[in-house]
Amino acid sequence: MLRVLFALLAGLSVSSGLGVVLNRRPLYAALSLVVNMLSLAVIFLMLSAQFLAAAQVIVYAGAVMVLFVFVIALLNPAREEALVSDPRQLLFGAVVGLGFALVAGIGFLGLTQGFGGSTDLGSGVSLGSIQSLGRALYQDFAYPFEATSLVLVVAAVGAVYLSRGR
C-alpha cells in the first residue's frame, strides 16, 4: 500500500523535476516545481515529518513559488529559443549527470544488505511531532536556530536594498 503510494509520488516528483529542467517556459517550470514540492511534502509525511511537510507546503509552495511567479510575471521573459545553446554542453552535462546517477545507483541500491543491520525504516514511529520538533529546536539546536534568524535578517535587508529603486 505505502509502496504503491511511494512509487506514485516518486514518479510524480521525478517527472515534475524533469519538467522544471526541460520546460522552456519559466512559468511552466515554476508550476512543475510546485508539483514537485507538494509531492515531496507528502513523502515527508510518509517519513513521519509532519511539521516539515507543512513547512514545505507553506514556505515553498506558498511563499517562494508565489515570489517566483510574481517575478516571472514582472519580467515576463520571452520563451527561451533553444534549450541548449551548444551540443557539447548537453553532451558533457549528460555524461556528468549519468556519472552521478551511476554512483548513486551503486551506492544506494547496493545498500540493501548490512546498513547497520537492515535498511527497513519500520513503521508507526511518531518522530516529527510538533512537540518533539519544538523540543529539538529550542533545546538541542537553539544556537543554529538563532543563527538562522540572522540569515533571514540578512536576506531581508539585502533583498530590500537590491530591489529598491535608484
Binding site: 554512483v103 551506492g107 547496493g110 545498500l111 548490512g114 546498513f115 547497520g116 533545546q139 538541542d140 539546536f141 537553539a142 544556537y143 543554529p144 543563527a147 538562522t148 540572522l150 540569515v151 535578517v153 540578512v154 536576506a155 535587508v157 539585502g158 530590500v160 536594498y161 537590491l162 535608484r166
Partner: protein, 485 residues
C-alpha cells in the same frame, strides 16, 4: 567571566551590532550614513576586546575551551584565534570602506549591516561544533557576500559578480548540503564529536556514505576557499565586486573555509580509514590550486584578477598545511592564515585606495611609477607583493617556511616540490608589479591624496606583515596555544 563566556560574548556582541545597525540605519539621514561605520566599528572593537580577553584568560589552555549549546558551538582557543583575526580584519575594512563608498557615491547603511553579518557568519563557521552550525555559518557568510558583491547595484560588473557568485554559490551549497546529509546518514549524528567517534567504528555502507559525504563536503568547502578546480568564480567575482568587499571576502572566506578544513577534516575526520581518503583528494586539490593559481596569474592585466589567481595559489599553500595534518601543520597553518590576512588585505586595500571615478579598475599598467607619484602606497604595494611572493623578511615567508616544515614532516615531498615550482613561477607576476611600481611613470599626473583613514588601515596591515616576518615569535606562541592538536 570564564574564558568561554568571553569568547561567546564576542559573538553575541557582533550579532547585537547587526541589530543595532539596523535600527541606527533607520534613524540616520542619507547623507550621514558613514556614521554607521563608527557604530559598527564600536561594536567590533568591543567584540575584539572580548575575544582578546578570552585569549588572555587562557581559553587556549587545555580545558580552557568548552563546547556549548549541546554540542553545536565550540568556544576554544582555535575559534578565538580566528575570531581575533576576523574582528581585526573587519576593523581594517571599516577604516577602508567609508571613503571608498563616498568615492563611488553609494554611501549606504546596508553595507555595514551586511559586513558585520558576514563577520558573524565567519565567526559561526570557525566555532562550529556541528554540521548544522557549519552550514548556517557558510550560508550566513555567503548570502551577505552575494549582496555585498552586487552592492554597486547600478553597475553591470558588480551585478554580474553578484549573480555569478550567487548562482554558483547556491550550486555549491547544494553539494555541501548533500555531503552533510550523507555524513549524517553514515554516522547518525550532526555534531562533530559524535561524528568523530562514529567514524572510528563505522564500516561497510555507513563508511561508504560517510566518505562519499566527506568528499562532497570537501568540494563545498574547497569552493569557499576558492581552491582549484572549484575556483572558477574567483577571478570574475573579485574583478566585479567592490574592492573593499573583495579585501574582506578574499581574506575572510578563505580563512574561514581553511579553518573549517582544519577543525572538520584534521580533527573530526581524523580517523585513519577516512583521512587516508580525503588527504589524497585534498592533496590533489592543493597541488592543482598551486599550479593553476600561479600559472593563471601570469598573463593578467588587471591587478584584481591577478590577485584573485594568486589567492587560488595561496589556497594551495594553506591546504598544504591541512593535508600535512600534524601539529606542525596546524600551527603553521594558523600562522600562515594570519599572515595571509595581513598581506592580502593590504594588497586589495591599496587597490581600493587607488580607485578613482566610477570604475574599480586595477589595471596594472596604471600603476606605472606609483612608487614616485605616491611613495607610501607604492612602497606598501611592493611590500605586499614581496610578502605574497614569500620573500623574507615578511610574514609570507615565515608562513611558507612553517608550512614547508610541516609538509616535509608529514613526508609530502611531491607536494612540497610543486609548492616550490609554483612559488618560483609566482615570483614573476608579483615582482612584475614591484618593477612596474618603480619604473618611471609615463604621465607624471598626481592623483588626489588618498583618504588618511584608509591609508592608515593599509599601513597597519603593512606593519603587521613586516612584524610577523621579523618577529615571528609573537604570533607563533599564540598559534601554538590555539592549535587543536
Amino acid at each position: 567571566m570564564s574564558p568561554t563566556d568571553l569568547g561567546l560574548a564576542a559573538q553575541v556582541i557582533v550579532a547585537a551590532t547587526v541589530i543595532v545597525l539596523l535600527l541606527a540605519d533607520a534613524f540616520t539621514p542619507d547623507d550621514r550614513k558613514s556614521v554607521l561605520a563608527l557604530v559598527a566599528g564600536a561594536g567590533v572593537v568591543l567584540a575584539l576586546a572580548a575575544a582578546v580577553a578570552a585569549a588572555g584568560a587562557g581559553v587556549g589552555d587545555p580545558g580552557g575551551g568548552r563546547v556549548l549549546f549541546n554540542n553545536t558551538l565550540a568556544v576554544d582557543g582555535f575559534a578565538v584565534f580566528f575570531e581575533i583575526v576576523f574582528l581585526s580584519l573587519t576593523i581594517l575594512v571599516l577604516m577602508l570602506a567609508p571613503a571608498y563608498l563616498d568615492r563611488r557615491h553609494i554611501q549606504k547603511g546596508e553595507f555595514y549591516i551586511l559586513l558585520v553579518a558576514a563577520l558573524a557568519g565567519m565567526m559561526v563557521m570557525v566555532s562550529a561544533a556541528s554540521l548544522m552550525t557549519v552550514f548556517i555559518g557558510v550560508e550566513l557568510l555567503s548570502i551577505a557576500l552575494y549582496i555585498l558583491s552586487a552592492f554597486l547595484r547600478q553597475e553591470e560588473r558588480s551585478q554580474e559578480a553578484g549573480l555569478k557568485y550567487l548562482l554558483i554559490g547556491g550550486f555549491a551549497s547544494g553539494f555541501l548540503l548533500y555531503g552533510m546529509a550523507l555524513v549524517y546518514g553514515g554516522t547518525g549524528s550532526t555534531d562533530l564529536t559524535h561524528i568523530g567517534a562514529a567514524l572510528k567504528v563505522v564500516s561497510g555502507d555507513r563508511l561508504v556514505f560517510s566518505v562519499a559525504g566527506i568528499g562532497l563536503l570537501l568540494v563545498g568547502i574547497a569552493f569557499k576557499a576558492s581552491a582549484a578546480p572549484f575556483h572558477a568564480w574567483t577571478p570574475d567575482v573579485y574583478e566585479g565586486a567592490p574592492t573593499p568587499v573583495v579585501a574582506f571576502m578574499s581574506v575572510g572566506t578563505k580563512i574561514a573555509a581553511v579553518a573549517v578544513f582544519l577543525r572538520l577534516f584534521v580533527v573530526t575526520f581524523g580517523a585513519p580509514a577516512v583521512s587516508s581518503r580525503w588527504t589524497v583528494l585534498l592533496g590533489g586539490v592543493a597541488g592543482l590550486s598551486m599550479l593553476v593559481g600561479a600559472v593563471g596569474a601570469l598573463r593578467q592585466r588587471d591587478l584584481k584578477r591577478m590577485l584573485a589567481y594568486s589567492s587560488v595559489a595561496q589556497a594551495g599553500y594553506l591546504l598544504l598545511a591541512v593535508v600535512a595534518g600534524n601539529r606542525a601543520g596546524m600551527v603553521g597553518g594558523l600562522y600562515y592564515l594570519a599572515a595571509y590576512a595581513a598581506m592580502t588585505f593590504g594588497a586589495f586595500g591599496v587597490v581600493a585606495l587607488l580607485v578613482r571615478g566610477d570604475r574599480d579598475g586595477g589595471d596594472i599598467s596604471g600603476l606605472r611609477g606609483l612608487g614616485y607619484r605616491h611613495p607610501a602606497l607604492g612602497g606598501l604595494l611592493a611590500l605586499f607583493m614581496l610578502a605574497l611572493a614569500g620573500v623574507p623578511p615578511t610574514a609570507g615567508f615565515m608562513g611558507k617556511l612553517f608550512v614547508f616544515v610541516a609538509a616535509v614532516k608529514a613526508g609530502y615531498a611531491g607536494l612540497t616540490l610543486i609548492a616550490v615550482v609554483s612559488s618560483a613561477i609566482s615570483l614573476y607576476y608579483y615582482l612584475r608589479i614591484v618593477i612596474v611600481v618603480y619604473s618611471p611613470p609615463d604621465n607624471p599626473r598626481r592623483p588626489q591624496a588618498a583618504d588618511p583613514l584608509g591609508t592608515a588601515a593599509v599601513v597597519v596591515a603593512g606593519a603587521l606583515t613586516l612584524a610577523l616576518g621579523i618577529f615571528p615569535g609573537l604570533l607563533y606562541d599564540l598559534a601554538q596555544h590555539s592549535s587543536l592538536l
